[in-house]
């Protein structure tokens, strides 16, 4: 397995695979953050999370088309505008969905699974009717393409760095929001004891609505970032939903640190195995390992200590 490579090559392999793993880690984390907020804090199993991501991707695509045809001078920075719009669009849709559907289901968590699954089918068909069944390509600004050579084998991809930076910023923002802001305190209070939180004057309905909206908004940003590496089509959201739930459940819902740790473990394991074995086998082994660990620790890697 290692015999075919020289020591120098092995070093480069581990550096490159480590870096590939870091990109995968950022991707997983970006996908899972929104879901972790919604699932962890609100107990809603949002099967339509992938479709909220794809909405972000479509918004990015529309921005790309718009800027390339009407404002070519601003193309280098359009991606930032697209991400903000993606956040707003998915967030707004999230708020609307919460108001129309989710708030009626809080006492029935398994029904949220069915309802959001239906929602995901409706959204897929909606995208197909509006944008067509074919995949669309997002044109990236020139500076985002290419890579920085470190040695003659090791190269650092610019869009990989971009995704990492973006993930770091959003993770920090979420952490600050949850653990340092007044709103975060209200969210955590509602999670721990809804009745008591209401009794002390927290508008729990409003907290729920905005928590769901922000979770969906982050999905929109993730979708926007994915246009750099993946495809944008009506059903593309389905590709990500399994991995996303895997990360959230493995990390232990409701725990930000757990989500980070689990995204890191899964991505590095998969990335290193993918090199020495094959893509399909790596995926199978990762899944088996996750299943094994969840059998030992059903609550996931990190457990929130709550008195029940």
């Amino acid at each position: 397995m290692f015999g075919d490579y020289s020591l120098g090559e092995l070093t480069s392999i581990f550096v490159m695979q480590g870096f590939a793993g870091l990109i995968l880690f950022s991707v997983f984390l970006l996908m899972a953050l929104g879901l972790a907020i919604i699932f962890g804090q609100m107990g809603v199993i949002n099967m339509a999370h992938g479709e909220f991501m794809i909405l972000g991707a479509y918004v990015t695509w529309m921005c790309s088309t718009f800027f390339h045809s009407y404002l070519p001078a601003l193309v280098p920075i359009y991606f930032f505008i697209a991400m903000i719009l993606a956040f707003l669009a998915s967030g707004a849709l999230g708020v609307a969905v919460e108001w129309l559907m989710i708030r009626r289901l809080y006492k029935r968590p398994l029904d949220t699974l069915l309802a959001t699954w239906g929602l995901s089918l409706i959204l897929q068909q909606f995208y197909r009717s509006v944008f067509g069944p074919r995949e669309v390509g997002v044109e990236l600004p020139q500076w985002m393409l290419g890579s920085l050579p470190v040695t003659d084998v090791i190269e650092i991809q610019i869009n990989g760095l971009f995704v990492m930076a973006l993930t770091t910023i959003i993770t920090i923002a979420v952490a600050v929001m949850m653990y340092r802001s007044r709103w975060g305190m209200q969210v955590r209070a509602v999670v721990q004891n809804r009745v008591m939180a209401g009794a002390v004057g927290i508008n729990t309905e409003k907290v729920d609505r905005y928590t769901f909206g922000i979770g969906c908004g982050i999905a929109g940003i993730a979708g926007s970032a994915f246009t750099m590496i993946g495809s944008t089509g009506p059903t593309a959201g389905q590709l990500y939903i399994v991995d996303t739930f895997l990360v959230v459940v493995f990390g232990g819902a409701a725990s930000l640190a757990g989500t980070i740790a689990s995204a890191f473990t899964i991505s590095q394991a998969q990335s290193i195995m993918e090199f020495f074995l094959s893509g399909s086998i790596a995926k199978v082994l990762t899944l088996l390992a996750v299943v094994g660990i969840l059998m030992l620790r059903p609550q996931g890697l990190f457990v929130l200590k709550v008195r029940r």
């Binding site: 069944p133 074919r134 890579s147 610019i158 869009n159 590496i229 993918e274 094959s278």
Partner: protein
């Protein structure tokens, strides 16, 4: 459906009604005189198919919903275009083609069910349809049991032959061998890296490619790798490619994964103008999603490209765009789907009958000289003789055709020494 309006039947009915008022019995003679050149239905249809004096029914069976809708939309469009053109020329044996379209919904049991409906309830004289090998395998027993005729448009892995199927796309050896010969001669390629999605078609195709690379070209495969359908992380394999530095990357990745693969390849600094990459799974349709600038410089090996320069193809492309819009693109499978109705028409006329047994029998040797790909002929094994071409992707999403085999390649669905 424009051609439904001027269906001769309704026209006839109107004239019959008018005539009957004045001459009660003259109307009876009218259908015969109006269709003087068309043979009597009893003579051309002895097996109870849906054929009348003026009309013949065929089926269109593709996914217009679900994950395969992306790919199969083009096939449906091409088949409808062919049917409309055939009707404009007077139909088949004097009968206009009417079609019944069913949706397979990207679900193989549904395909089988709908195939049965088209054959048993609707008595379709022929069915154009299917895309994935899985859907074809699901409908095959139905077509054999109820003796239907299927025109299947996709390039596929081979290892199949049926009296009831005409394969209008290429089988694996036709698509692969000439392309590998070309790249080894033209680029002096010595080492190959094989990549693919993890299911039967890429695996069988790569198996044939590997045999050819090792046994015929006497060169080397330095890596072979498969990814689950829908995989979007290719950094690891790209790193391996960088380390092994193959002369040729041979890629058979399908669907949305392609977008991720080519974007990441470009982001990793692999320039396809310097690194030779050959694909047999990216048509003009897929480039729409990948983005031309990400794949420009790659070589594709298949039988048809939209940019093919011949009068037949120019007519086909302009008719297709007129019917389905300026922005549509036409890929290899779309053209193969277009061949289905035409080959069926030519075969029916050769056999002088709509009966499936006679058509299956008469198919061998049927030529279609107006085919957009140039010229095709049906082999006794029910596959087509075809040329294999190599195209080079341009940034605008089209291919420049840079090579084609001098002769038509004989289809060989059960290649000896390649299995």
């Amino acid at each position: 459906m424009a051609y439904d309006k001027d269906r001769p039947q309704s026209d006839l009915r109107r004239r019959m009604l008018l005539g009957m008022a004045a001459m009660p019995f003259a109307g009876l003679a009218l259908p015969r005189t109006a269709l003087a050149q068309a043979p009597a239905t009893s003579a051309v249809n002895t097996t109870g198919l849906a054929v009348t004096d003026t009309e013949v029914t065929v089926g269109i069976l593709h996914s217009v919903t679900g994950t395969m809708a992306i790919s199969e939309t083009g096939s449906v469009q091409a088949e409808k275009l062919a049917i409309e053109q055939i009707n404009a020329e007077g139909g088949v044996l004097g009968r206009k083609i009417k079609f019944i379209q069913e949706d397979g919904g990207s679900d193989w049991p549904t395909f089988a069910e709908k195939a049965k409906k088209l054959l048993v309830n609707d008595k379709c004289a022929a069915v154009m349809g299917c895309w994935t090998s899985a859907s074809r395998k699901a409908v095959l027993p139905v077509f054999e049991q109820y003796n239907g005729m299927l025109y299947y448009p996709t390039f596929y892995e081979g290892l199949e032959q049926s009296k009831n199927v005409i394969y209008t796309g290429q089988e694996a050896t036709q698509q692969i061998l000439a392309g590998l010969d070309w790249v080894s001669k033209e680029k002096g390629a010595k080492t190959f890296y094989l990549l693919g999605s993890d299911y039967i078609w890429p695996r069988t195709s790569n198996k044939i490619a590997r045999k050819h690379i090792e046994n015929v070209l006497k060169t080397k495969v330095v890596g072979e790798e498969y990814f689950p359908l829908g995989h979007t992380q290719f950094n690891s394999v790209i790193n391996k490619i960088k380390l092994t530095k193959p002369d040729v990357i041979y890629a058979i990745i399908v669907g949305g994964s392609n977008v991720a693969f080519y974007k990441q390849l470009k982001a990793a600094g692999i320039d396809l103008n310097k690194q030779t990459l050959v694909t047999i799974s990216v048509t003009e349709d897929e480039i729409d999603g990948i983005g031309g600038e990400n794949i420009a410089g790659a070589y594709a090996c298949m039988k048809y490209f939209q940019s093919l320069d011949n009068p037949n193809n120019k007519q086909f492309v302009s008719a297709f765009k007129k019917m389905w819009g300026e922005k549509t693109v036409i890929g290899d499978v779309t053209q193969a789907a277009y061949l289905g109705p035409w080959l069926w028409k030519l075969t029916v006329e050769k056999a002088g009958s709509f009966d499936v047994d006679k058509i299956a029998e008469a198919s061998a040797g049927v030529e279609f000289k107006q085919a957009p790909e140039g010229y095709v002929k049906i082999h006794p094994n029910h596959h087509l003789w075809s040329k294999t071409r190599v195209g080079r992707a341009r940034p605008d999403g089209q291919y420049d055709v840079i090579y084609e085999t001098a002769e038509l390649m004989e289809p060989d669905p059960f290649p000896k020494g390649y299995q």
